[in-house]
Symmetry: C2
């Protein structure tokens, strides 16, 4: 018996006409799939519209109430999709996060899934019904409504696929799949047929927006194959699965870029044990996610520590940096928003030395200075000036024959 979870994002259900299209597609799928669960996001930009309403009322809404408000978006789309399916003769029933028992922690607006019950989903699937589930939302064990943060519907879909032991999870979106680079930047960029979880994680972390890291992590932990594909045509998209299932392993799979980060530098930090721990401990306490970290060799027992954070967090970093600098006896702090991070991703890199050198040489030959470097076994990221970001993507995409 086949069991598949399909997820349709906001652009796929932006209006009545698109909802009907999704319904047709789902009803068509049901003919070849025994058990079908469909996870939906809110219609189009409903979530932003609701947030705007809240913003007109208060600049500081209680997060619990924000969750109450935002969860309504997915409830509308799930009900409308269930209606559209029934209208075309496909027996469907909608369910809220609460009814599905998506049990989360109490971290309102970015709750983490603790457990998925899905007992009622299984009951309805056994009756032959298509189960339409509101994405993005969960409920605490106390019955408080939570949301899973942006991209949370993907996580809902993957979590359900894991719980139900689905054959795979299809993520329908407004692009054809995962690309070797952003097609808006590199006209020659092309769709990747398959990619490993780890590569996809690195791509998501370095700027690819098609999937959120969190849902890929979840898929990897439970070994749920993902199929990222277009909701507008029938063509195959990109399969994301475990590395040992991937036939062809190119050395470099993709070039990603990200202009949303800022660089922070603490200058003249005493080079002694515990300083880095204190610095990054203070940032963690302030709930700030740090991406790349660089510490230069020390001179006269002092060193410089640089790291990147999301630009959205920069204001908070500025606020606490003075206090941190004082506490760790740093001489000064610098902030730089005009940077771009460019990354090469490829599972084959770990067995092919020399990729990094070739990357650095290509950038140098094109007159671009590298400000920071960070590597993992399957990724090399560099920070360059913001204005060089897109050019760097293009020359690297060409150099590595993507």
């Amino acid at each position: 018996m086949s069991l598949v979870v399909q997820k349709f994002g906001g652009t796929s259900v932006a209006d009545v006409k698109k909802i009907k299209n999704v319904a047709r597609r789902v009803a068509e799928s049901k003919k070849r799939i025994d058990h079908l669960v469909v996870v939906v996001s809110a219609l189009g930009d409903t979530t932003d519209q609701l947030l705007e309403l809240a913003r007109q009322i208060t600049s500081n809404p209680p997060e619990r109430e924000t969750d109450m408000l935002l969860s309504t978006g997915e409830n509308v789309s799930m009900a409308l999709l269930a209606m559209a399916l029934n209208e075309m003769g496909a027996d469907a029933v909608s369910m809220t996060g609460q009814q599905v028992e998506i049990i989360t922690d109490t971290g309102h607006t970015k709750a983490k899934i603790r457990h998925v019950g899905a007992e009622r989903v299984i009951q309805e699937l056994r009756k032959g019904k298509i189960v339409v589930v509101a994405g993005f939302q969960g409920v605490t064990s106390d019955g408080e409504i939570t949301t899973l943060g942006r991209g949370g519907s993907d996580t809902t879909a993957v979590a359900l696929a894991a719980t139900l032991h689905a054959d795979y999870c299809e993520i329908y979106t407004d692009v054809d799949g995962v690309f070797t680079a952003d097609p808006k930047v590199v006209p020659g960029a092309h769709k990747i047929d398959e990619v490993s979880y780890l590569e996809m994680l690195e791509m998501a972390a370095t700027g690819a927006k098609v999937l959120q890291s969190r849902s890929v992590e979840y898929a990897r932990n439970y070994n749920v194959p993902l199929h990222v594909r277009s909701s507008f045509h029938e063509g195959e998209g990109t399969w994301v699965r475990s590395e040992d299932k991937i036939m062809e392993k190119p050395i470099v799979s993709a070039v990603t870029h990200d202009s949303s980060e800022a660089k922070v530098t603490f200058l003249g930090v005493p080079d002694k044990p515990g300083v880095a721990a204190e610095l990054f401990g203070a940032l963690a306490d302030a709930n700030i996610n740090v991406d790349m970290i660089i510490q230069n060799v020390s001179e006269k027992e002092r060193t410089d520590i640089s790291f990147t954070v999301n630009q959205d967090d920069l204001r908070d970093v500025r606020k606490i940096s003075m206090k941190i600098a004082e506490s760790i006896h740093a001489k000064d702090t610098r902030f730089d928003e005009r940077i771009a991070k460019v990354s090469l991703i490829g599972a084959g890199m770990k067995t092919n030395p020399g990729i990094a050198a070739r990357m650095f040489r290509t950038l140098a030959e094109n007159g671009m200075n590298i400000e920071m470097i960070s590597t993992s076994p399957i990724k090399i990221s560099v920070v360059v000036r913001e204005e060089n970001g897109e050019k760097a993507v293009r020359v690297l995409h060409k150099e590595f024959g993507l």
Copy 2:
């Protein structure tokens, strides 16, 4: 310790500005009331907009999915009102029908309340919080979301007031209270200071739209005083309470009218036992509400039976009337939509004979023919030609010195 339930309808929370006004008013109330529960409807005409979306998808939406869809409207307004209250320093928390435990039967789109738990409401009230509750919605014991039908938010408010033993329940609306007649028809109509549950029930049943019969019935059963008042100014509205609490008892309290009914007549029905039971049994089976029923004296062992139904139900009545007529051996059927029902309401009528005669004489003197008559101890209703309806209201309002 005082405990009050306040209910604000859709027009009172139609936009952000109005929500802020409601929040100011609620926060002001909290200064003089110890425990405050606020029930809200959906913003403005949200419910109609959602129904229109559904209608674009299907002419026959499953009622369960309609409830899923419609319940989102109140969830938006409750969250926004809770935010607005917190913004002005009033500690507030919103709750869905599920969280309040408004347990209903499974009659989707017109569910009836079976039981109200309200345990969490009491917990939050004890902490000094204002509890904002989504009106109109409930949940079955199986966790299915239901709605209570149009005007259901009033019922939510009254049911909560009864469960919490509230001192009274305030219904905020876009009019100043209950009037002696529709002010649009009778310019001299004025607000009634107090009225009994029974009078209010008769008024709601005969065309007054300010309160739904169902919520008044609920209030009467649990003896919850209602205060119907304007959400736009501070003035007192109309108190609805038990008759023995009412100081001044006018003979006639109000003149109401209703043009939404149609008259149906079965001609030449055999005058023998069981015929009326068969006729109205068949209508009840088709879920059609019958209002006035008249049976004339019989001639030659045959009689005519007339009754009124809502015009919305007339199509269904036409559909089944042929079959009914055949089954009860009626000679013919007639349908008439061009009627108006005009009613005099007054608790004092039962101890003041001659009101009916005076009413009929007034109408006759003004050249209006009476087609049907129906009375209760505190109400006299007549059916006249539709074009005479408003004139009848005016002359009766004058005749009885309202």
